[in-house]
C-alpha cells in the first residue's frame, strides 16, 4: 500500500511549463508572400515607373549569392561587415510576389476596381523565375499603372529587349503588347487597407464572413488568388501610394486603423506592412509635397499599420535641394524592403509574451548567449554572435554568426507571462 502511495506521489511532480518556439530555418521565416498594393491613380505614374526601374535592386538584395559580399580584409568597419554578412543570407529567402491595386470599386463601375485581385496572366512571380524583375515589372507596368499615352515619352530607336533608361511608349509596347498597357487607371478613392484585406479573401478557400460585407467580393471571387499564400509564410503588404488610406470600413477623419488589423488577424497569419506613402510629420502636423491630396488621418492609418506590424514607413516624396518636390529614391525603399525580408531570417516571433528572464535560445542544440550592454552600439545596433529580444515584434533577434544557417534547428524556450496559449492534454 505504501509503495503505491509513493508511486502516486511521484506522478504529482510539479513543473513550470515553458513555451517552445522550435523551427527549422529551412521551413520557417524564410518564406515571404509579398503583395504589392499599388496606387494606380493618375497621380502615381512617375512613382510606378521608378518602382519598375529600381526593382532589380530589390531582387538583387534578396537573391545575392555573391560570396564577395562577406567581409574581407578591406572592410574595416565592424558594423558594415556585420550588415553585409547579414544581408548575404538573403539567398535563403523563398518569396512570392504579386500585385494588386488600391482600387476596390465594383468591376461594373468606371473605372473598375480589382478589389484585391492580383494582376497579370502570371499572378505570382517567385524566385524560381529566370527573370523575376522582368516578370514583376511587366505586371506592374502593364496592369497596375495608370499611363496617359500623351505624357509617355517616345523613343523610336528603342529595340525590344534593350534595358531602358526610362519608360517609353515603345518599351511598353514591347513588354505589354501594342497599347495593351492603356486603360489601367484606378479610382481616386484609394483603399489600400481594404485592398490588402480583400487580396487575402481571394486567397483562401473559406474566407471569413467579413469579406462579403460592404464590398464587391462574392462567392465567385473565392480562390481567385490561388497561389500567393503559403502555409507558415509571412505576408508582406507593400503599399505604394501618394495618398493616405480611405478604406470604406473606417469613417472619414478616423485615424485608427485597428479594425483592419483585426480583419487581417482573421486569417491567422503573420503579416507586416511596408508603406511608401505621403510625407507626413505627425508631430509637426505637416504634409509635405502632398501632390496627391493626402489627408493626415488617412496617412496616419498607414503609419500605424506599418508601426504595429513591425514594418516600415518611408515617404514617397520630399523637398529637394532647390525646394522643389521630388520622388524619393525607390532604390532605397526597395533595399529597405529587402532588408525587412532578410530580417525574417534573423527574427523569430514568439507566440506569447515571454518572461524575458526565462528565455533560452538554442541553435542545433547549442545555447546562444543573450546580448549584454557591451554589445550595443550608440545607435542601438547589436554587434555580437548572440541574440536579443525585440519587444516591439515580440521576437528573438539573432545577430552575427549566431544567425541560424539553412536547415539548422532553432529552439526558443520561455515561460509566458500570462499562461499557456492553448489547453494542454496532460
Amino acid at each position: 500500500m505504501g509503495a503505491f502511495a509513493l508511486l502516486a506521489l511521484a506522478g504529482c511532480n510539479q513543473y513550470e511549463m515553458f513555451l517552445l518556439a522550435g523551427h527549422e530555418q529551412a521551413s520557417f521565416s524564410n518564406d515571404a508572400d509579398i503583395i504589392f498594393v499599388i496606387d494606380n491613380s493618375s497621380s502615381m505614374t512617375d512613382e510606378a515607373e521608378d518602382l519598375a526601374l529600381n526593382f532589380d535592386v530589390f531582387i538583387d538584395t534578396l537573391t545575392s549569392t555573391d560570396g564577395g559580399a562577406l567581409p574581407e580584409g578591406s572592410v574595416s568597419n565592424a558594423v558594415d561587415a556585420y550588415i553585409l554578412y547579414t544581408r548575404e543570407r538573403g539567398r535563403f529567402l523563398d518569396y512570392n510576389l504579386g500585385i494588386t491595386t488600391t482600387s476596390v470599386e465594383d468591376p461594373g463601375t468606371e473605372p473598375p476596381g480589382l478589389y484585391g485581385e492580383l494582376v497579370g496572366d502570371v499572378q505570382v512571380v517567385d524566385n524560381s523565375f529566370e527573370d523575376v524583375s522582368g516578370e514583376f515589372s511587366a505586371n506592374l507596368l502593364c496592369e497596375a499603372t495608370c499611363w496617359q499615352a500623351a505624357t509617355v515619352p517616345s523613343d523610336p530607336n528603342y529595340e525590344c529587349g534593350d534595358e531602358p533608361d526610362q519608360i517609353t511608349l515603345q518599351y511598353l509596347d514591347c513588354v505589354c503588347g501594342l497599347e495593351a498597357w492603356e486603360g489601367n487607371c484606378g479610382s481616386g478613392d484609394e483603399e489600400p487597407l481594404e485592398a490588402a484585406f480583400l487580396s487575402l479573401c481571394r486567397s483562401v478557400e473559406n474566407p471569413p464572413d467579413e469579406c462579403y460585407d460592404n464590398t464587391p467580393f462574392t462567392a465567385g471571387d473565392v480562390m481567385t488568388n490561388p497561389t500567393i499564400l503559403r502555409d507558415e509564410a509571412t505576408t508582406i503588404f507593400v503599399v505604394v501610394t501618394d495618398e493616405g488610406d480611405g478604406s470604406r470600413r473606417l469613417g472619414q477623419g478616423d485615424y485608427d486603423a485597428s479594425p483592419y488589423l483585426e480583419l487581417l488577424d482573421l486569417f491567422d497569419r503573420t503579416y507586416r506592412f511596408a508603406v511608401i506613402g505621403p510625407n507626413y510629420d505627425a508631430d509637426a502636423g505637416t504634409l509635405t509635397c502632398n501632390s496627391g491630396g493626402a489627408t493626415t488621418w488617412g496617412t496616419e492609418r498607414l503609419q500605424q499599420v506599418a508601426a504595429e506590424t513591425g514594418g516600415f514607413y518611408n515617404t514617397i516624396a520630399q523637398e529637394g535641394a532647390g525646394g522643389d518636390c521630388e520622388n524619393t529614391d525607390f532604390a532605397t525603399h526597395l533595399e529597405e524592403l529587402g532588408a525587412l525580408l532578410n530580417q525574417l531570417l534573423i527574427s523569430f516571433p514568439l507566440e506569447a509574451v515571454p518572461d524575458i528572464d526565462t528565455l533560452l535560445v538554442y541553435v542545433d542544440g547549442e545555447e546562444i548567449r543573450l546580448a549584454d550592454e557591451a554589445d550595443y552600439t550608440e545607435d542601438g545596433e547589436v554587434i555580437c554572435d548572440c541574440w536579443s529580444y525585440d519587444a516591439s515584434q515580440n521576437a528573438v533577434m539573432f545577430h552575427g554568426a549566431a544567425i541560424p544557417d539553412y536547415n539548422q534547428l532553432v529552439e526558443i524556450y520561455y515561460k509566458p507571462l500570462e499562461g499557456m496559449p492553448r489547453t494542454l492534454p496532460f
Binding site: L6, A10, L19, E351, E367
Partner: protein
C-alpha cells in the same frame, strides 16, 4: 508451527530416566520462530542493481545502483548507494514539445545520486514455493540522505544538485550462503532549484531496483 516446536522441545530421549521440568514456554519468550539459515550480523554486502526512475510524468531514467552495506545486527545495517542513470523524455514530454503544443515542462533529467543511511530489517521469513522449494528472505526499509545530480532536459549547462531524503521498502532473497537477490522500491524526495523558472521545488524520484548482491563470509 507452535505445536511442532513444542513437540520438538518436549521430545527428549525416550530412554531418559529422569524427567526434567522445563517449565512453560511463553509466546513473548520466543524470538526465533524458524531456523535462521542466513545470518547477517557482522557481514558486509555489496550489490549491483539495475533499475529505473519511472514514475515521473515526463521523464524516465534507466539507472544502475551500486550499494554497500554493513550489517551490524540482524535487523539493522548501515550503508551507502551510488546511482548513475540518464533521464529521457517520455511520450508525454515529446508530445507536448511537438508542433501541436509547443510546450516543454521544466523537467530535469536524472544523472546520478549519492546516498547513505540505515536499513531496518525487522522481518525475516521463509517462503514455500509451490511445495518444491523453500526460500529465505528478509524485508527491509531503507532510510537515506544524500544528493542527486540532475540537468535541465533542454539545457545542457543547467545542472541541479539537489539534497534529499529517501525512504522505501526492499526484499532480500537469499541465494545460498553469500548471494542475495534484491528488489527495492525507494522514494528519494529531493529539493531542486530550477534556474529558468527561479523556483525551488520538491521532487520525488521513485526508483525501482532489481539486482544481485554478494555478502562476505560470516564470522
Amino acid at each position: 508451527m507452535f505445536l511442532a516446536l513444542t513437540a520438538l522441545l518436549f521430545s527428549s530421549d525416550a530412554e531418559a530416566q529422569d524427567t526434567l521440568d522445563l517449565g512453560t514456554l511463553k509466546n513473548e519468550e520466543i524470538t526465533v520462530v524458524q531456523k535462521l539459515l542466513y545470518p547477517k550480523t557482522g557481514r558486509s554486502e555489496i550489490a549491483f542493481q539495475l533499475g529505473a526512475i519511472a514514475f515521473d510524468p515526463y521523464m524516465l531514467a534507466p539507472k544502475v545502483q551500486l550499494s554497500f552495506e554493513s550489517h551490524r545486527s540482524e535487523t539493522m545495517s548501515f550503508g551507502a548507494q551510488l546511482g548513475l542513470g540518464y533521464g529521457v523524455g517520455k511520450r508525454a514530454y515529446r508530445t507536448l514539445g511537438g508542433p501541436a503544443y509547443g510546450v516543454r515542462p521544466e523537467a530535469y533529467r536524472y544523472l546520478g545520486s549519492v546516498t547513505g543511511g540505515a536499513n531496518w530489517s525487522p522481518i525475516y521469513a521463509k517462503l514455500n514455493w509451490q511445495g518444491v522449494s523453500v526460500h529465505h528472505f528478509d524485508v527491509y526499509f531503507p532510510f537515506v540522505v544524500g544528493v542527486t545530480l540532475e540537468r535541465l532536459a533542454w539545457g545542457d549547462e543547467y545542472f541541479a544538485i539537489a539534497p534529499g531524503v529517501g525512504v522505501g521498502v526492499g526484499v532480500r532473497l537469499f541465494q545460498g550462503d553469500n548471494g542475495v537477490l534484491k528488489l527495492e522500491l525507494r522514494d528519494d524526495l529531493i529539493v531542486e532549484a530550477r534556474k529558468q523558472s527561479g523556483t525551488v521545488v520538491p521532487k520525488q524520484n521513485v526508483g525501482i531496483h532489481l539486482g544481485f548482491g554478494r555478502m562476505t563470509e560470516g564470522k
